[in-house]
Structure formats: structure tokens, C-alpha cells
């Protein structure tokens, strides 16, 4: 490995580590961080990397791994359920977009073959970006995530015919693509993958497991994906499609989780590299030379794609705001466009400068998706409030006394309990499906990042009687509690604490009301364990209550010593001894009961 290769890797890892946390913190997600990082180190800004196409080529493998992993989560039964959206929505989306884009370009005076190839390339969306965002937002099993995935899957299936159509325009050989042998070998390859996946992986895995060397299993997992990709490329099919197929076949095997765990880190790194490479290949030069033209193209691309997906979603009965969300999620051009356009240059169908223009437009459009979704979040939040208005009239007091930040497993239970007692709540969560369900129960719901003070204020924090912080991220919880305590010193704040040390941390910030997120259930389990061991239920109940009371007392008593490590440890030990003493006393008390009460 040469110095320059090492330096190159240092730069790539370094820029990812610098830019991604920043955008993730800002709520933009990781994708845009990688893209911006790529732009920065790319040939046109800092110039650390000169030929991003090569990296892009390598990193495309990340997309293959991604599809393999998605396949693992979808067994054949679930895939069968998606057939309507795959072949209905997918087909409609692809043809409509390609037609509209092609027609538009033809009207602008492009040649027929340029228009067709560009239309087909633009119609593809980016699986990498869309699925990464879907995952980060927890939308995998939401209608938006599932339909989005169906459309993307159809696009992957369509890769072969699209390449075929594009090659038909090749000046010399008109019909070399279509012959029976290649179709038959493709079918044979797919059958071979299915059969090998079914009957070969299991014995091999068992054999490897016998050797008890962990990296062998990782190597085998990678071999499966790489091998399949190789075969697919050889027979002229899409690598991603083959990997997906293999994933689906292995979804029901007992090695599914092992495969997942093995592939996941590679997928993450390669996808990151992929986004970096896309960022690098953004032609800033072109943007500077023809800013208006490029921007017009990007806007047209986004508009047409969103419009088509919105209409298709409408035809397929997707509800309300989900149509727009799905449209925006898939509004960007995809990585496949790069492949198609570079092949078309080789075939002489596209002129290099036209391909450059198209590539630039596609990569810029990828940059917009996280931003568009952020704008969508803001808009959806406003709409949520607007939708709420008519219902709110029924509730005499529009100002809800309790605000619940975070509506996951903890917040939901708190809200339900309050709702049962006719205390209305305002709920804030970043997940749209949670929000819809709350609104049905006459609560106000805001869609957005609950850790933002201004959003809480928009939700009525200044009139609230109680703020419940029920988010699951410890850091975010502490920060929010601290900020709100500072700005609203008299407002009671009830906080979901992670563990004992988090409780101490919150004490330090002046928070009095908190509940450790697992303490209650652990206590409940302890109590059940006692009962199962034959202890009388009432005694088990009392024991748990006494334990809880004592534990809390210790927590408060130890708090002042927390800074002083040594003292803290000795105090902790003392506390444990006291607990034992207390339990011994308990036993004694019960024994002495016999004398007084019978």
C-alpha cells in the first residue's frame, strides 16, 4: 500500500467523520453529510481526489449490499404481497416519467435517441439515498417506505430492458441485444442462484461454523453477495437485482441474522463511500458556467418526478400527505443514470457534453432530497396543526396542559394514561405515523424534532403545566431538560432517565421528577420472579415496594458524593450492605409477626 493510498483513505474517512455528524446533528440525516463531504474533497474544491468515477464504481457495491440486506428482511411471502405496488406503481412511474422527460427534451430540440436515453435514465431514482433515508426515519414498514421500495425494486428489474433499449440506438449493430441464448442463460443463472441459495448455503454455513473462526463466516457472507453479483454481471443482469433475489431466498434461513450482522458494516461503509463519490462527481464547473440552465434542469427533474409519483400514488390510493412524502423521497435521479449514460457515451448515443450535463443534474438532484424532506417536515408540522383546528373547537380549552416530547414506547403510555384521565396533551414526535394516531384522539400533535426549544414553544410550552420528556436518546434528553429548566425555571419537567448515572446527571441540572426507563419493569420482573419461586404475591409486592423506596433513598443520599469517586464507591458499598441489612430485618419483622398477629 503506497503512501498516497493511505493518505487517500485518511482523507475519505476524515471528511466523512467531519461532515456527517454535523448534518446528522442538524437533523438533515447522514446522506447530505457524505455528499457535501464529497463535494469538498472532490476535484473541483480541494482537489484531493481526481477521479471519482473509479470510487463510484467500487462503491456501487454498497448499493448491492443494501439490496441484499433488504432482501433478507423480505421473505417471499411478504414480497408476494407487494406485487401490486411493484408491477403497478413501479411500471407506471417508470414509463410516465420516461415519457414526460423524453417528450420535454424532444421539444427542447434534443435528438430522439438522446431524449429516450435521458428520459429512461432520469426516471430511475436512487435506491441508496431513498432507502438510507427510509431507514433513518424508521419508515421501512410504513406505506411510504414499502411503496417507495416497490418502485425502486421495479426500477432495478427494469435495468435490463432499459439497457437493451438504449443499446438499440447504437449506430452500427441494430439488434445485437436480443437473442434467445442470452435470455436463456439469464434465466438459468437466476434459477441457479435460487437453488444454490436454498440448498447450498446451509451446509456450507454449518461446515464453517464447525471451524469456529468468525471471519470465515464474514468472508462467506461477502462471497455470497460478490459471487452472485459476478454471475449477474456475466449474464447481463443487474447486480443489485441478483443480490436482492439472494437476500429474499435466504430470508427464511436460520443464518439470516448472522448474514445481516456480517454484511451490515460493509454496507454502511460502502454506501458512505458511494455518497462521497457522488458528491465528488458533482460538476461544480458546469454549474458555474450555466447556473440557470442547470438549475432549471434540476428543478424540472424534481418537479416531473415528484408529480408523476404523486399522481401514481393517488391512483393507487395512498392517503393524504404520504403521496407527497413518497414523491419527494424518490424525486432524485439515481446511480443507475450514471451507468446508463456512460454506456451510452461508449455506444455513441450520447455526446460526452450531454452526458456531463445529465450527470451533473442527476447528482445535484441527489443533494436536494434531504433538504426537500426537511422542508416537507416543516410543512407537514404546519399542516398537522391546521388539520387539528376543527377538532380543537370541540375541546373548550385549546391550550393543552401537558406537552409530551417523544412519542415512542414510553411517551405513548404516559399519553394514554393522561388521556384516560381527561388531561389533554400535546405530543411532539419526528415520526409521522405516530402523529396521525394521536390526532385521532383529539390531542394536538406536532411533527418534528422535539429537542428544539422553538418547536416546543410553538406547541405552547409557555402555557403548559407540565413537560414530559420521553425521548430515548440520553444526550438529547439531558440537553432539552437543561435548556427548558433554564428558560422556564418554574415549569415542572418529568424526564425519562436512562439509568442511575443519568439520574445523577439530571439531579445536577436541577431536575427533580424522573423515572428510570427500565427500573419499573425490572422491579415488576423481580416481583414476578419472587412469585414464581413460591413467595406469596402480597409479600413479593411489598418486597418490591420496599426495594424501590430504599433504592430511591440511596440514590438521593449518594448524590452529593458523586463527584468524589472514592467516597462514592465506599458509600455505594455501604448502601449495599444496608440493603442486605434491611432485607435481614424484613425477615426478622415477618418472623416477629407470628407472635403478635396470626
Amino acid at each position: 500500500m503506497t503512501d498516497s493510498t493511505l493518505l487517500f483513505m485518511v482523507i475519505l474517512f476524515g471528511v466523512a467523520l467531519l461532515s456527517v455528524p454535523v448534518t446528522a446533528r442538524l437533523g438533515l440525516g447522514s446522506v447530505i453529510g457524505y455528499l457535501i463531504g464529497g463535494v469538498l474533497v472532490g476535484p473541483e474544491v480541494l482537489g484531493f481526489v481526481s477521479n471519482p468515477e473509479k470510487i463510484l464504481h467500487l462503491a456501487e457495491f454498497g448499493v448491492v449490499l443494501l439490496l441484499f440486506l433488504i432482501g433478507l428482511e423480505l421473505n417471499p411471502k411478504r414480497l408476494w404481497k407487494l406485487r401490486r405496488s411493484i408491477f403497478g406503481m413501479g411500471l407506471l412511474q417508470l414509463t410516465l416519467t420516461a415519457l414526460l422527460v423524453g417528450l420535454g427534451l424532444k421539444l427542447l430540440g434534443w435528438s430522439l435517441e438522446e431524449s429516450v436515453v435521458a428520459g429512461m435514465g432520469i426516471a430511475m431514482s436512487s435506491t441508496a439515498i431513498a432507502m438510507q433515508i427510509t431507514g433513518e426515519r424508521g419508515l421501512r414498514n410504513h406505506p411510504v417506505g414499502q411503496n417507495g421500495f416497490s418502485i425502486l425494486l421495479f426500477q432495478d428489474i427494469a435495468v435490463v430492458p432499459v439497457l437493451l433499449v438504449a443499446s438499440l440506438f447504437k449506430p452500427e449493430t441494430a439488434s445485437s441485444g436480443l437473442n434467445l441464448v442470452s435470455i436463456l442463460t439469464a434465466i438459468a443463472a437466476i434459477l441457479a442462484i435460487i437453488i444454490a441459495g436454498r440448498y447450498l448455503t446451509r451446509p456450507v454455513f454449518r461446515w464453517i461454523a464447525g471451524a469456529r473462526i468468525r471471519e470465515l463466516s464474514i468472508a462467506f457472507s461477502l462471497l455470497i453477495v460478490v459471487g452472485i453479483s459476478f454471475v449477474m454481471v456475466k449474464v447481463g443482469l443487474s447486480m443489485a437485482l441478483g443480490a436482492f433475489l439472494a437476500g429474499v431466498i435466504l430470508a427464511e434461513s436460520e443464518y439470516r441474522h448472522e448474514l445481516e450482522a456480517n454484511i451490515e458494516p460493509f454496507k454502511g461503509l460502502l454506501l458512505g463511500l458511494f455518497f462521497l463519490a457522488v458528491g465528488m462527481s458533482i460538476k461544480l464547473q458546469l454549474l458555474i458556467e450555466h447556473p440557470l440552465r442547470i438549475l432549471a434542469f434540476v428543478c424540472a427533474l424534481l418537479f416531473i418526478k415528484t408529480l408523476v409519483i404523486y399522481s401514481v400514488s393517488w391512483i393507487f390510493g395512498i392517503k393524504d400527505r404520504d403521496k407527497l412524502l413518497l414523491g419527494l423521497l424518490l424525486s432524485q435521479g439515481g446511480e443507475f443514470a450514471f451507468v446508463l449514460f456512460s454506456q451510452s457515451i461508449q455506444d455513441g448515443v450520447l455526446k460526452p457534453e450531454v452526458a456531463d450535463l445529465l450527470n451533473g443534474v442527476v447528482s445535484l438532484s441527489m443533494l436536494t432530497t434531504p433538504l426537500l424532506l426537511l422542508a416537507y417536515d416543516r410543512w407537514a408540522a404546519v399542516r398537522c396543526i391546521a388539520d387539528q383546528k376543527p377538532e380543537a373547537d370541540a375541546i373548550p380549552d385549546d391550550k393543552h396542559p401537558v406537552i409530551i416530547a417523544g412519542f415512542g414506547r414510553v411517551g405513548q403510555i404516559v399519553a394514554r394514561l393522561l388521556h384516560l384521565n381527561k388531561i389533554s396533551t400535546t405530543v411532539i414526535d419526528h415520526s409521522p405515523e405516530h402523529i396521525d394516531s394521536v390526532r385521532r384522539f383529539g390531542s394536538k400533535a406536532y411533527y418534528g424534532d422535539a429537542s428544539q426549544l422553538n418547536l416546543l414553544e410553538a406547541a405552547g410550552l409557555s402555557d403548559a403545566k407540565l413537560l414530559v420528556i420521553a425521548m430515548d436518546d440520553r444526550e438529547t434528553v439531558t440537553q432539552l431538560a437543561e435548556t427548558v429548566r433554564k428558560h422556564y425555571p418554574t415549569l415542572p419537567i418529568l424526564v425519562r432517565a436512562y439509568d442511575r448515572t443519568h439520574v445523577h446527571e439530571l439531579f445536577d441540572k436541577g431536575i427533580e421528577h424522573m423515572e428510570r426507563e427500565t427500573f419499573g419493569s425490572a422491579l415488576g420482573m423481580g416481583r414476578k420472579a419472587l412469585q414464581l419461586m413460591g413467595i406469596h404475591p402480597y409479600q413479593a409486592h411489598r418486597s418490591a415496594l420496599r426495594f424501590e423506596a430504599y433504592d430511591l433513598e440511596v440514590l438521593h443520599r449518594l448524590h452529593p458524593y458523586r463527584g468524589d469517586e472514592k467516597q462514592f464507591i465506599s458509600k455505594t458499598r455501604e448502601a449495599r450492605e444496608q440493603l442486605e441489612k434491611l432485607f435481614a430485618e424484613d425477615e426478622q419483622t415477618l418472623k416477629s409477626d407470628t407472635q403478635g398477629w396470626d
Binding site: 406469596h536 402480597y538 413479593a540 409486592h541 415477618l590 407472635q595 398477629w597 396470626d598
Partner: protein
């Protein structure tokens, strides 16, 4: 009353394993056909009582028994909670509250002090029937026939054999009730005399 009589025992002891008398009484009847024991501290250790289930059980009963030790001249806390929650207006008393009307009611109690302690000059100052007045009043309001309580007193000094005899007496009493009904119990007369164990 129908031929197949049904006895429901509302049993309240927070820790039966340490009780001599209540354990013995419980054991004597727990496997009898026609006798349903509702062990409150076992069923509702956190004091949250399933009112519907309790009321259903009471509806099916011909004889309702409160079986418990005497704690501070009354029942253990959960049985008091049970009365407050289960004997609702409209079920046990008040308009439409006739679910318990005409059924038999019996207390089976144990106390540490000897009978002699339950006298004006004794350490408890009052007679046991006087102390049990709230239960008698409750039974009256619910339309229950209040019978002479079955009491084991002086547990601190009672012998194993005596205890076994008492337990057997309890079992026989329930057996008789299942066969003959109310006649096997003594309806308390209105003179409120003290009674022997």
C-alpha cells in the same frame, strides 16, 4: 335455594404461611366440592380488586363467608378495601341493589386474645359481638342473614390438637350447610349475647 349449594369463602390473610389458625382452617376446607375460596391477598396483592369478578362470585353463592384473623378489632386491610369496592350501591344495597338479598353470611375469625379478654374488665374492653357490629350492620343492609360467627380465640395458647378439632368442626359445618342449608347455621338472635367458640 337449589339442591347444589355453593359456598364462597372470602379469605384474607396477608401471609398465611406464618399463621397457625388460619392455615389450619384454610386447609380443612380448601378441597371441598361446592366451596370456592377467594384468597384476596393472593388474587390482589397490589390491592387493585377486580370488582366484576368478585360480584360474579357472590351472585353464585348461597353462603358467603368472611374468613380472616382479627386485626385491630377488624379485618386485614385488603378485606376492608374489598368491602368498599365490591359492595357497591346498586349491587349490594340501595336502589336495585338486591344481588345479595336472602343469602347467608358467616364470619370465620381467629384472634390472639382469649375469650375472657373480650369483656368489660378484659384487656379488649368489649365483647366480640359488639366489636363485630359493623359486619352485622353490613349484612343487614345487604339483606344477608347474619349467622353466629365461628371464632377461634386465644391462638397464642391453643394446642395443636385443639386447633385440629376446631378445623374439623369448621369443615363439618360447611359439609352440613352444603347438605342441609341454613338450618345447620345459627341465625344470631337480637339479644346480642356473647357466644362461645
Amino acid at each position: 335455594m337449589s339442591a347444589a349449594r355453593h359456598v364462597v369463602v372470602i379469605f384474607a390473610h396477608p401471609n398465611p404461611s406464618i399463621s397457625k389458625a388460619q392455615k389450619a382452617l384454610y386447609k380443612a376446607i380448601h378441597s371441598m366440592a361446592g366451596v370456592e375460596i377467594r384468597d384476596l391477598y393472593q388474587l390482589y396483592p397490589d390491592f387493585y380488586i377486580n370488582v366484576k369478578a368478585e360480584q360474579e362470585a357472590l351472585r353464585k353463592a348461597d353462603l358467603i363467608i368472611f374468613q380472616h384473623p382479627i386485626y385491630w378489632y377488624s379485618t386485614p386491610a385488603l378485606l376492608k378495601e374489598w368491602q368498599d369496592a365490591v359492595l357497591e350501591q346498586g349491587f349490594a344495597y340501595g336502589p336495585g341493589g338486591v344481588a345479595l338479598k336472602g343469602k347467608d353470611f358467616l364470619q370465620v375469625i381467629s384472634s390472639g386474645g382469649l375469650e375472657s379478654a373480650y369483656h368489660r374488665q378484659g384487656s379488649n374492653r368489649f365483647l366480640l359481638p359488639e366489636l363485630l357490629r359493623p359486619f352485622e350492620a353490613t349484612a343487614w343492609l345487604c339483606g344477608l342473614h347474619y349467622h353466629k360467627p365461628f371464632a377461634i380465640q386465644g391462638i397464642a395458647s391453643i394446642s395443636e390438637q385443639q386447633l385440629a378439632r376446631e378445623a374439623e368442626k369448621y369443615r363439618l359445618m360447611l359439609q352440613n350447610y352444603l347438605e342441609q342449608g341454613r338450618a345447620s347455621l345459627q341465625i344470631l338472635d337480637t339479644t346480642h349475647q356473647g357466644f362461645a367458640p
